[in-house]
């Protein structure tokens, strides 16, 4: 009893962790499955077939490449616009600043399916052909809120004296931005970029409404799930998961090392 009381927090933590990680483990395990038939839903036997031939399924790798490109461009677009908006909102007082401050959260708050449908209506009414560009525009739009939020938090905690100090020390406006403002805002911008990339990469609803005949990776998975799930989907899923974990671990190691030299 006493032991339980002492370790309750740890146990609760481990259980929560398991709850979060279990789906990923299942995906991972089933990427080594050799299913009978088209559906990869029950464990049969261990196999490396899918890992040896990840692009063995027709059109899957094309959709994956498209999704990666979309995510990359959406991230870049949202980053440039979002960073500028964040700086404007924190640094300058202008008319409708308050309104913009709340409107920027609209894409976050609005049900995605509503947003998707209204975007489709808009595109159709404007006579824009659905495809890569409409999806990209939609992705940049909803990623923007997240980038603005992440960057704004960072910029708000920034001491404006730092930029004054830079200007005082002979840095012109451009130099001040590149040497002082940007490096200090970088963690916020990086956080925004990661969010934007992840959100764009696995968005399904808005993409599905506005993609026309273009097929992104989430759309491919959804489509194939109707007819059977190739193991390769699990392979891609596992690969993405491992990549993300590696990035997080690498980030942790870097910050830890920095802290260590800091205390040394």
């Amino acid at each position: 009893m006493r032991w339980l009381r002492k370790n309750l927090v740890v146990i609760a933590g481990l259980l929560t962790l398991a709850y979060m990680i279990l789906p990923n483990i299942v995906v991972m395990v089933f990427s080594f499955n050799k299913p009978n038939g088209r559906f990869n839903y029950s464990w049969q036997r261990f196999s490396l077939d899918a890992w040896k031939d990840p692009c063995g399924v027709a059109d899957m790798c094309e959709s994956l490449s498209l999704s990666l490109q979309l995510a990359a461009w959406a991230t870049v677009g949202a980053l440039v616009l979002g960073t500028m908006i964040a700086f404007a909102l924190v640094r300058y007082r202008f008319r409708a600043r308050g309104a913009i401050n709340s409107l920027i959260f609209l894409p976050m708050a609005m049900p995605e399916v509503v947003m998707a449908a209204s975007l489709l209506t808009l595109f159709l009414n404007m006579g824009i052909e659905l495809g890569f560009w409409t999806v990209l525009i939609a992705h940049i739009m909803f990623c923007l809120s997240f980038v603005v939020t992440a960057v704004k938090a960072r910029v708000m905690s920034m001491d404006p004296r730092l930029e004054e100090a830079a200007r005082d020390l002979y840095a012109g406006p451009v130099q001040t931005f590149l040497r002082v403002t940007l490096p200090i805002a970088a963690p916020g911008i990086a956080a925004g970029a990661l969010l934007a990339f992840a959100l764009s990469f696995d968005d399904f609803i808005i993409t599905n409404f506005n993609a026309g005949s273009t097929v992104t990776f989430p759309m491919f998975v959804w489509g194939s799930a109707q007819r059977g799930t190739p193991v390769q989907i699990n392979v891609i899923g596992t690969a993405m998961f491992v990549l993300a974990v590696l990035m997080v671990v690498a980030g942790q190691i870097i910050t830890n090392r920095r802290k260590k030299t800091a205390t040394a």
Binding site: L162, A165, R167, D168, L169, Y170, A171, R179, I184, A262
Partner: protein
């Protein structure tokens, strides 16, 4: 890009800093009323005042971080009013130090040199680190240093550029008292060593008096008085200066006689004030504020009143409070002439009878008395001292 003198590695001297008719208004609020100020080259100049008196705004206008609403700023013969901060041969030490958190100490210090395209900065950076005694901290990040060390980095980062003027915005405000005293001496040493004009903004009157050659006391966006610390202390021209710099006993009095010695009456007693130490014209029957510093006053028990030398100003009263603070004892005396007069007595031969409740005579040399215009607020500058602390 800039006409720095730094390339020669020596401050060749650009002359005085001259502000003419400088003012700053934010909308309807005037932070600084038009003021003229000359900071002599090579001097340690302090702008002293309570928060909100316009001293920092004045400093920021010299730095170029704030555009003056009117007036011109000269560095030597050069009009720099319209130059952006990065083109002015002036550097600032900020109150929060504003060290770049993503750079190490030597990168911070080298920042100004690098921005002006100077490639080999190692030697100069090392020299600077030596000057501020932080040679072993070159590769540390700012947040790894203590407040005092960060402060010295901020000074080094500005000084390495050999500016014509170094501006210091409450640079010691964030330090604890002991470190502050230490850094005051340190800054004074550095200033003497490099010979650059320092303009130092502070709300701490002791700091201003310890460090500066010249002090401008500011209040409500105006310069109340300008002068050497001792001069300001001995000859305050306004009640604000009298109260803000140290402590003054101000007694409201009526003028009986004018002349080389002005004779006044307060609370039934007569006091004499040297005529040339009265700031405003005095006339018979008019009012004047008579001032005397607490340490100039001697305290005698009422029983010994007869032994007080003739010709000294005297005020009778009763001790209401006394506090022993080591080198001296501070008494508060109520008298008909004025309530709560302050007296600082050296603890040489302590008179045991001088306790709260004792009847006493306060006496001092009339030469130490000054007269101020009675039309002013007698308590100006009193509370602001406490606010600022």
């Amino acid at each position: 890009m800039t006409d720095k003198t730094a390339h020669t590695g020596k401050n060749t001297g650009g002359g005085d800093v001259r502000l003419t008719g400088i003012s700053k208004a934010y909308g309807s609020f005037t932070a600084v009323h038009p003021l003229d100020l000359t900071v002599p080259q090579g001097s340690f100049f302090a702008l002293l005042g309570a928060s909100g008196c316009g001293k920092t705004t004045t400093l920021r206008m010299i730095a170029g971080l704030e555009d003056p609403s009117t007036g011109t700023i000269f560095l030597g013969d050069k009009d720099v009013t319209d130059l952006p901060p990065y083109k002015r041969p002036v550097n600032t030490v900020f109150q929060s130090y504003a060290l770049f958190p993503h750079m190490d100490i030597s990168e911070n210090i080298a920042f100004g040199l690098r921005r002006r395209g100077i490639k080999s900065v190692k030697k100069q950076v090392d020299d600077m680190l030596e000057l501020v005694q932080l040679g072993d901290k070159a590769r540390h990040k700012p947040h790894q240093l203590s407040g005092g060390q960060q402060q010295r980095v901020a000074v080094a980062r500005a000084l390495i550029n050999h500016p014509q003027v170094l501006l210091l915005d409450e640079p010691l405000g964030a330090l604890d008292l002991k470190l502050r005293r230490q850094m005051q001496l340190e800054l004074k040493r550095i200033q003497t060593e490099v010979g650059i004009t320092f303009v130092h903004v502070t709300h701490d009157q002791e700091e201003a008096m310890t460090m500066a050659d010249q002090v401008a006391v500011m209040n409500g966006g105006r310069v109340e008085q300008l002068g050497a610390p001792a001069d300001l202390y001995e000859n305050p021209q306004t009640t604000f200066v009298a109260n803000f710099l140290g402590t003054s006993n101000l007694i409201e009095a009526e003028v009986l006689e004018t002349g080389s010695d002005v004779v006044v009456t307060a609370g039934g007693g007569k006091l004499r004030v040297p005529g040339d130490r009265c700031t405003s014209a005095v006339r018979q029957g008019g009012k004047v504020l008579v001032g005397v510093r607490p340490e100039k006053i001697s305290l005698a028990h009422a029983d010994d009143a007869g032994s007080i030398a003739d010709g000294r100003n005297r005020v009778t009263g009763r001790i209401v409070d006394s506090s022993f603070i080591g080198v001296s004892t501070q008494y508060v005396v109520n008298s008909p002439a004025g309530a709560e007069l302050q007296v600082y007595e050296q603890n040489i031969e302590r008179d045991a009878r001088l306790r709260p409740g004792a009847e006493v005579v306060l006496h001092w040399n009339p030469a130490h008395t000054f007269g101020l215009d009675a039309a002013q607020d007698i308590d100006a500058g009193v509370e602001t001292v406490e606010d600022a602390g």
